[in-house]
Symmetry: D2
Subunit: 347 residues, 4 copies
């Protein structure tokens, strides 16, 4: 027999700003079933006035909320606010939000880069809240768990950076690959582009098709590079090319780098396993992983091998872009900030 | 050795109005390779100024045209004009066009219904060229070849009506099913909705999904019904429900009706074969057809059987919605109007 | 704060026979996370000796079991045994199993038909355990909850029948449609055919394709018909045509029938809502449902309307074939048999 | 008016051995419509006795042939024989075939590697016709047109090698990239694995999924490497990783290499354009290409750029694996061997 005992003093109030996009919907999916969390507000200007289950019928009988227009002070009283807005919008809202809400988790790109210049170069508009860039903690728990626990503002990592960085962390921390040899070839599902009505994302254009995009200028390049350079303590002039694939969810990241050390494939796998002890959502695999292994979960599965012929390390990581690459990781960060078990509500 | 001998006096000039949509692109695909046809103009306001192969890279090296904005008299000199515009736009252009161009083929719905009231009810706006409704010939060659040959204005059939009517013509002509028993359950690929940036058609919404739509009020209902009632000589109160399926091209039509006569499955098949003698694009099949059998072709494959337990006739027809359901049929009509072999350029 | 208190006396032991197919994997997905259930055995001869998470990597860290070959008495000690074997195999195992295990739920077709002759006609082999046909309870909780609670042997409904019967139950119970007018046009995802290596199910054959199959002779026809005739108390000579659609999961069932009563669409919807009061997994919808609304859930969403022009009732039901159409419904049946809340572990 | 004049003396007789697979079907698609070619025999042991249009209904009314079992001397009288058999089978047939037929084009891997040891290492069985390895001409027309024209035996390139080699030829010929820096990340559709009933290729396993495979040991590695080393005149220790993507047709190849010269992106593009003057099926693109641009065509579209930040060259090539990657290229080779225009029947 299972007894659920909810102590009302410990139910945390959560607001979601930008709740009608795919990441917002995933946040609701992970939070709605919990008895230690209550979603008090779901803001979404484009869907304001509509019931959540009218926009997402899957939630019928599960989520009983109406989308509202966000306004100043509207999230007052929340213990945590998630911001799932397009880049360029969050930076206008977060400063005010931080005056009302003790913990803010931004799922967009506005607080991930420390450099306003890099931000402007890749995001194509000036940063409007540069004063917060120093304070924002990069919310990758496998790298920054302690800082996350004490943060007011989390910059939740991008989907591509999550897969790429988790794949490269142990290699760069342990200095076993040449930093100038790294090539990241990433394959993403369509939901990564958001809930969007672009012609380019229509089924007729995407199905039975593949295309690379933003070659050499994707906004996730400086994010990946900055984090890895901080880890490596030296420049990491990597190449990153994203490709759009006809799947809905998932990022498949294949990473190539030249080995910098004497190491067998078995030793490499062991090093990776060791690096992720205590990280409940990273699984080091003996077989080549596939998207299906992680869809709808918060796992990042990683496979590493060495090609003897070329002395190249080949690293493959897979995540669900909407979970470990967005909403799931945000919930993981929330758990850490609230002092809850990291995996609560995510298994 | 193959000698191609082109008599310049017999090269026909063709203009396409609305050339940048999927049907327009299909028209170019079928016409560009022919040496008895030259496309002189490709009008598409939304893409005006762009090379055709910039919008459709597949045409690089094959089609050397620039999209232009359509204006009065712009199609002057053409032997045939194809109009591939959204319903409601063609009716404003066609009257003027007919003063300049001897043959006009409208791929949209503006001239398919004889009744302006039915048009207004299903298309949600008043008809602006009712004077042409009586003259327009319904361009289904398997039904109206003679009238097509002499027509000035062709109403090219809708994609769903093409599959449904070809499936039912022999049964209703020969009075072997009860007209009040007909149920048409149709499954369409996404390109049927046009080259559109609707959120509802985005890959993330369509893949791994199915949904019926416009139940009871799809604008193809009166078109199917009017043609079949003309054939049957009595009311045909049919039910038609379209479904959106995650494929790009193709319409799969399953038709159910109660048998009205003593007939074996073999006799039924024979009757269908006989009905389509001389129709090069209708193939009566002994096996259940599939979309793959007709994709990229102008064929309509039809299978008929009788369920002894219920005495129902089950008819399945498959077409490529962009070919036999749109551009291919339009080219077939053009061939007939120009006195060319019906299948020229379509095999 | 959430306290989970497991009373060891109330942890139920479960064995799965045929655990490596898609239904078996779904059973593990729904059961592995529960603290009132423990899977003691996972039998799968084709994968015997392999770890579950080697065959299904998604279970890494979640399911720690090894597939075993099934043998006599191997499931001894289980409180419930699920049998997820191909039709024709279960009937050889179940009689012996019932001597050892107090509750058996067969997910295949072997115990769904009362008539051995109908079984032989549609399944193409003789029935080997006809003595159990009278005892087996048809495991559709929305129809038979009480009988399920006391049953030893459950015949878990087929995927198509679940969608079709739930869509028609209220209409036939209330005698509002003509029983001889029913047409069921059903669209299924590929996983309905099981974890199979058939060429016909390969991606290259299925994607961008649709085909009807087993027209007039699908083995689910007598199952649907028998249940509905029992409900209606008269013959229901229905037509059912299944179609294979390029999706992995889901069944979309569109049902057509002639109205037999004076009823408005609103009254019809109200009648359906009333019929399913107390059925936590049936949701009557005001909008046309889609597969995405129910994927990975145990819900059956139903939409009903009346076409005034034809006086036909159009009913649409959607389920996930692997959940409400198989494993989820089996767990729902298990919950009822064990006296647990019907929705335990399924929300 | 178009006059087709066929000189019967110049109709070439063609036999296809292994005609029922996807490559065989593509050969029939390209050859059946020509009036300078007649397919005299279609051999396919697995389908022997069946009409071609029973196996491929799309050919109904177009191909009137029956699959036959291949036997010694069965192809006697053909001007060209295509062999589309699994690797390991062709080498047993080709020696005998060459005694009867003046031109043999093998679409499989048996004659692509000069080294029997490399063959055995990657194909996992001994080579049985090593005497022909020296004579076989690697059938990449953009590299070997002259040798192809005079050859008796063509080893038609593999699908991955076609995309990879065409992408790298100009760079290696002109020594502008470091040969030890090349990484080839290739994405293939499912038809590349042939018409196969493997569970791994079933729709339920492939859709909404991605996986790399044969990392470091794919049999196309030595083929790509050998050709490129011959071109470069030095070792090219490249890395090649193939990925299976849920599309039916197409290979998307993204190539990364470190620039070895002072060159602007514009100069690089110009060098590529120059390298392929006279190659009618290679199109150098200014935009990032996509699979859709080449599906069903014999084109290879190539895009090249330089990433200034890393001084890496990024090359993208796209082909249809069944056309330029198999049957189309085989027809191109046949045209060259027969002295016909290279593009005959392929545009």
């Amino acid at each position: 027999m299972q007894i659920k005992f909810s102590n009302r003093h410990n139910v945390h109030k959560v607001a979601i700003i930008g709740a009608s996009g795919y990441s917002g919907a995933e946040l609701m999916r992970f939070l709605a079933g919990r008895n230690d969390i209550v979603i008090t507000k779901a803001f979404a200007s484009s869907s304001a006035g509509q019931q959540v289950d009218a926009v997402y019928p899957v939630f019928a009988g599960q989520v009983n909320l109406t989308f509202e227009t966000y306004a100043d002070r509207a999230a007052d009283g929340a213990d945590v606010a998630f911001v799932a807005l397009p880049s360029g919008e969050a930076m206008n809202i977060v400063p005010g939000l931080l005056a009302l809400v003790p913990r803010v988790i931004d799922l967009g790109g506005d607080f991930r880069l420390q450099s306003p210049d890099a931000y402007e170069q890749y995001y194509k508009h000036r940063h409007a809240a540069t004063g917060l860039l120093g304070e924002a903690v990069y919310g990758l728990p496998e790298l920054n768990k302690e800082a996350i626990a004490g943060a007011r503002l989390i910059a939740n990592p991008g989907c591509y950076p999550t897969g790429a960085i988790l794949g490269l962390l142990p290699a760069l921390k342990n200095d076993i690959v040449r930093p100038d040899s790294i090539v990241i070839s990433a394959l993403s599902g369509v939901s990564g582009a958001g809930r969007s009505n672009s012609l380019e994302l229509s089924f007729s254009e995407v199905n039975e098709n593949i295309r690379a995009y933003k070659v050499g200028n994707h906004q996730h390049i400086p994010e990946i590079q900055a984090v890895l350079e901080q880890v490596a303590g030296k420049p990491v002039p990597l190449t990153f090319v994203p490709h759009l694939i006809p799947i809905t969810r998932g990022i498949y990241t294949t990473i190539y780098a030249t080995l910098n050390a004497q190491l067998s494939p078995g030793e490499l796998t062991y090093l990776y396993e060791n690096s992720y002890v205590g990280a409940p959502f990273v699984r080091i695999k003996k077989q080549i992983p596939q998207i299906k292994d992680v869809v709808n979960t918060n796992y990042c599965d990683i496979y590493v091998t060495i090609e003897p012929r070329t002395q190249r390390v080949i690293i493959i990581s897979v995540i669900d872009n909407l979970v470990k690459g967005a909403a799931g990781q945000a919930v993981q960060n929330m758990n850490i900030m609230l002092g809850l078990p990291e995996e609560q509500g995510l298994m």
